[in-house]
C-alpha cells in the first residue's frame, strides 16, 4: 500500500470551494429531510450527513469530462461535479421535467451523457459500468481522464465490487474507487461485514494503489483524493481510497440509527466535517461568521427557490407516458 500522508494544509481556494459544496449539500439534504417529514417525498430519503467532506473532495477533484458514479450519500460530490440543485429537487419531487422524469427517483438520478451515472440499487453494480466508460474512451483514443465510483464499506462484501476492481486492475483503467467506511451498513457493524484490519489492505490483493484518509477532515480528503485522482490520471491504474468516518444520521430518514454505539459518536470520527471545516475557515480567517451566514442564506434561498419552482412543475402523466422500455419502438410489445 502506498502511504499517503497529508501534506501541510494549503490554505486556499480548494478548501473554500469544497466547503461551499458541502454546505449546499447539507442544506439540500436538510430540506429533503424536512420535505420527507412533511410527507412531500415519495420513497426513501438518504442523506450524506457527516460524509460531505469526502464526497465534495471527490467532486472537486474531477473534471467535467471525467465520469462519476455517486452513491446514496453523495449530494456534495454531485454538486461539485456539476449536478444542479434543480436536478436533485426535481428527482426528489418527481417532476416530469427532471432527468428521470418520474420514472426513477431521489438518489437514483444522473445524466450518463454528462458523465454522471445514475445508480441502480444493487450495491457494487456501478463500478464495472464506470470501467466500461473508461475502457471505451481508451478504445476511442481519449486519454487523461478518470472515473470515480463511490461505495460504502458494506458494499465491499459484494461480488460485484470484487469483480469490477479486479477487472479495472487487469485493464489498468483509471478508476478511483472511494470507499466511505462509515462503520455501519444500514444497522450492520463492521465486525459482521469484514474481518480485515483495514479495508485499504484489500488493494495489494488486486495489485492496485491504496490510500487511507480521515473522512471528516476536509483538508485531508482533498489532499488524498486529488492525489489519487492524479495518480489514476497519470496512468498508474486503479486507486482505492478508504475513508474512515461516521454517518451522522439514520441509514435513511425513516431510521433513527439507535444502533450506532455512543463510543463511536463520541470518538473523533463522530465530529461533524462541516463544523470542522467552518472552524478551520474561521480560524484561518479565510471567512468570518458573517460571510458564512451569507453563504448559508444564499444556499437556502437557492434551494427554496428550486423547491418552489419544482412544486409548480408538471408531474408525470400516465396518459402521456410512453410505456415502453425499448428505444427500438417497433420491437416493443404491449403498448396501447
Amino acid at each position: 500500500m502506498l502511504q499517503t500522508v497529508s501534506e501541510p494544509r494549503t490554505i486556499g481556494a480548494a478548501q473554500l470551494a469544497a466547503y461551499r459544496f458541502m454546505l449546499r449539500a447539507r442544506l439540500l439534504d436538510d430540506k429533503f429531510a424536512a420535505l420527507y417529514r412533511a410527507g412531500k417525498i415519495h420513497g426513501g430519503v438518504f442523506l450524506g450527513r457527516g460524509q460531505e467532506a469526502l464526497s465534495a473532495a471527490i467532486g472537486v477533484s474531477l473534471k467535467k469530462t471525467d465520469v462519476f458514479a455517486p452513491l446514496i450519500r453523495d449530494a456534495a460530490g454531485r454538486l461539485a461535479f456539476g449536478e444542479t440543485i434543480l436536478d436533485a429537487v426535481r428527482t426528489y419531487l418527481g417532476s416530469a421535467l427532471g432527468p428521470m422524469r418520474g420514472r426513477d427517483g431521489n438518489v437514483h438520478r444522473g445524466r450518463p451523457q454528462d458523465g454522471c451515472l445514475p445508480m441502480i440499487s444493487h450495491l457494487g453494480a456501478m463500478i464495472s459500468v464506470v470501467n466500461g466508460v473508461l475502457f471505451a474512451r481508451r478504445m476511442k483514443g481519449v486519454t487523461g481522464l478518470v472515473g470515480a465510483a463511490c461505495l460504502g464499506e458494506g458494499a465491499t462484501s459484494t461480488g460485484s465490487f470484487h469483480e469490477a476492481l479486479n477487472q479495472a486492475a487487469v485493464e489498468k483503467l483509471p478508476l478511483v474507487l472511494v470507499v466511505a467506511n462509515n462503520q455501519y451498513a444500514y444497522s450492520t457493524p463492521n465486525d459482521r461485514q469484514f474481518a480485515c484490519a483495514d479495508l485499504a489492505d484489500k488493494a495489494v490483493g488486486y495489485g492496485v494503489e491504496a490510500h487511507s484518509v480521515v473522512g471528516n477532515d476536509l483538508a485531508a480528503c482533498l489532499d488524498v483524493v486529488s492525489h489519487a485522482v492524479a495518480r489514476a490520471r497519470a496512468g498508474h491504474g486503479p486507486q482505492l481510497i478508504v475513508a474512515n468516518l461516521l454517518r451522522l444520521c439514520g441509514h435513511g430518514e425513516h431510521d433513527d440509527a439507535g444502533y450506532i454505539v455512543p463510543e463511536l459518536k463520541n470518538s473523533p470520527l463522530g465530529r461533524d466535517c462541516l463544523k470542522l471545516a467552518e472552524e478551520f475557515l474561521l480560524q484561518e480567517k479565510i471567512a468570518d461568521r458573517a460571510q458564512l451566514a451569507v453563504w448559508r442564506s444564499e444556499a437556502i434561498r437557492e434551494i427554496e427557490d428550486a423547491v418552489a419552482q419544482v412544486q409548480r412543475e408538471p408531474l408525470p402523466d400516465p396518459f402521456a407516458e410512453n410505456w415502453t422500455a425499448l428505444s427500438t419502438e417497433n420491437l416493443a410489445e404491449g403498448r396501447e
Binding site: G43, H108, G159
Partner: protein
C-alpha cells in the same frame, strides 16, 4: 387483538425457531435491528446465536444456507428486497434447486423475498419476480395473500424438505390485518376460493387478490357475481381448483402484478386451455403490469400495475364477450 401480515411473518418465524432447533435466520440486518421491515424484531434476543446478520453477499448467503441444509439444518434466508435476490439467483436456481435431484440429499431452505410494488419504491425495490424462480425445476414458489396464509405458509415452507421461495408482498405488510393467527390451514399447492361467483373467474395471487376482491365488490353492484381464486402457491399451481372454477363460470381473467411476458398468468391460461378448453365461453384474458420497469412516481406506478379499477374494466370487457 389484531395482527398484521408482517407480524404474522414474525410470529411464524418465532414459532419455527421455538419448535425446531434446526431453524436459524440469516440475512442483512435481521439481527439486533430486526430486519429492514422488522420481520425479525426481537428474534435475535429471544433466540441467541440463531438469528444472524449477514454481509452484503447474497450469493454467499444462499450458498451458506445450502451447506447448512446439507447438514440437516433449516435455514430461513431474508433477502432485504426480492429485487436483490438477482445477485443470489445462481445459488438458488443452480445450487439449491438441483441438490436433491443430483444427490438425493434434501435442501430444506426457505428464501423470504419481500417483493412487489409500493408507492414510490421505484424500479429496484418493487419487482415481482416469482416467475423467474418458478421457471426452474426444483423449487416451490409461494405467494400468500392473507395474514393467515403468511403465517401458515411460512411454517409450511420451513417444514418442507425442498427449497421454498416465499414471496411476501410489501404492500400487504402493514395494512392487512387479521383477528388472530390460524390454527389450521390449506397445504401448499392448494388454491383457495377467495370469493364465490358464477359469472367469471378471476385467478390471481398475492396483493392482486385484494384488487380482484375490490373489483368483484364493485361489479356486484352491477349485478355480476365474480369468483376470485387465490392461487396461494404459483408453483405448484393448483390447476384442478382453477378448472373447477372455470367450469362453473365459463370465463377466465388472470391477473398478475408481474411483467406481461410469460409468468403466472400465461402459465394458468396455457393449462386451462389445454385441459379445460370446452369449459370456456369466451377467450381467456390476462391483465398484468406494463412491460417497463416499475416506475417510481405514484402517478405512473398506479397506471403500471393492475388495480381494482383496471381489473373491473377488464372483467367487464370479458363479461360482454
Amino acid at each position: 387483538m389484531s395482527i398484521t401480515y408482517l407480524e404474522a411473518i414474525r410470529e411464524a418465524q418465532a414459532r419455527a425457531l421455538r419448535e425446531d432447533p434446526r431453524v436459524f435466520i440469516y440475512g442483512q440486518d435481521v439481527g439486533a435491528f430486526g430486519g429492514a421491515f422488522k420481520a425479525t424484531k426481537n428474534l435475535q434476543k429471544e433466540f441467541p446465536g440463531r438469528v444472524l446478520d449477514a454481509p452484503i453477499s447474497e450469493d454467499a448467503i444462499v450458498g451458506l444456507a445450502v451447506g447448512a441444509a446439507i447438514e440437516g439444518l433449516r435455514p430461513i434466508i431474508e433477502m432485504q428486497f426480492a429485487d436483490f435476490s438477482t445477485v443470489g439467483f445462481n445459488q438458488i436456481v443452480n445450487q439449491a434447486a438441483t441438490l436433491f435431484w443430483r444427490t438425493q440429499v434434501v435442501c430444506p431452505i426457505t428464501v423470504r423475498l419481500p417483493f412487489g410494488g409500493t408507492s414510490g419504491s421505484g424500479p429496484f425495490h418493487s419487482q415481482c419476480i416469482e416467475a423467474i424462480y418458478a421457471h426452474y425445476p426444483g423449487v416451490i414458489v409461494v405467494t400468500p395473500a392473507t395474514v393467515e396464509d403468511a403465517y401458515s405458509m411460512l411454517l409450511a415452507a420451513v417444514a418442507t424438505n425442498d427449497p421454498v421461495i416465499f414471496c411476501e408482498h410489501k404492500f400487504l405488510y402493514y395494512h392487512l390485518k387479521a383477528e388472530k393467527l390460524p390454527s389450521e390451514a390449506l397445504p401448499i399447492g392448494k388454491a383457495r376460493i377467495a370469493r364465490e361467483g358464477r359469472d367469471l373467474t378471476i385467478v390471481t395471487y398475492s396483493a392482486m387478490v385484494h384488487e380482484a376482491l375490490a373489483a368483484a365488490t364493485e361489479l356486484a353492484t352491477e349485478g355480476w357475481e365474480i369468483e376470485v381464486v387465490d392461487l396461494r402457491s404459483v408453483k405448484p399451481l393448483d390447476t384442478d381448483t382453477i378448472i373447477a372454477s372455470v367450469a362453473r363460470t365459463g370465463r377466465l381473467l388472470c391477473v398478475g402484478e408481474a411483467w406481461p411476458w410469460g409468468g403466472v398468468t400465461a402459465e394458468v391460461i396455457a393449462r386451462v386451455t389445454a385441459e379445460g378448453y370446452g369449459l370456456l365461453d369466451a377467450p381467456p384474458q390476462r391483465l398484468n403490469a406494463k412491460d417497463t420497469p416499475v416506475p417510481y412516481h405514484p402517478n405512473l406506478w398506479a397506471a403500471h400495475r393492475p388495480t381494482s379499477r383496471s381489473v373491473a374494466a377488464a372483467a367487464r370487457n370479458l363479461l360482454r364477450t
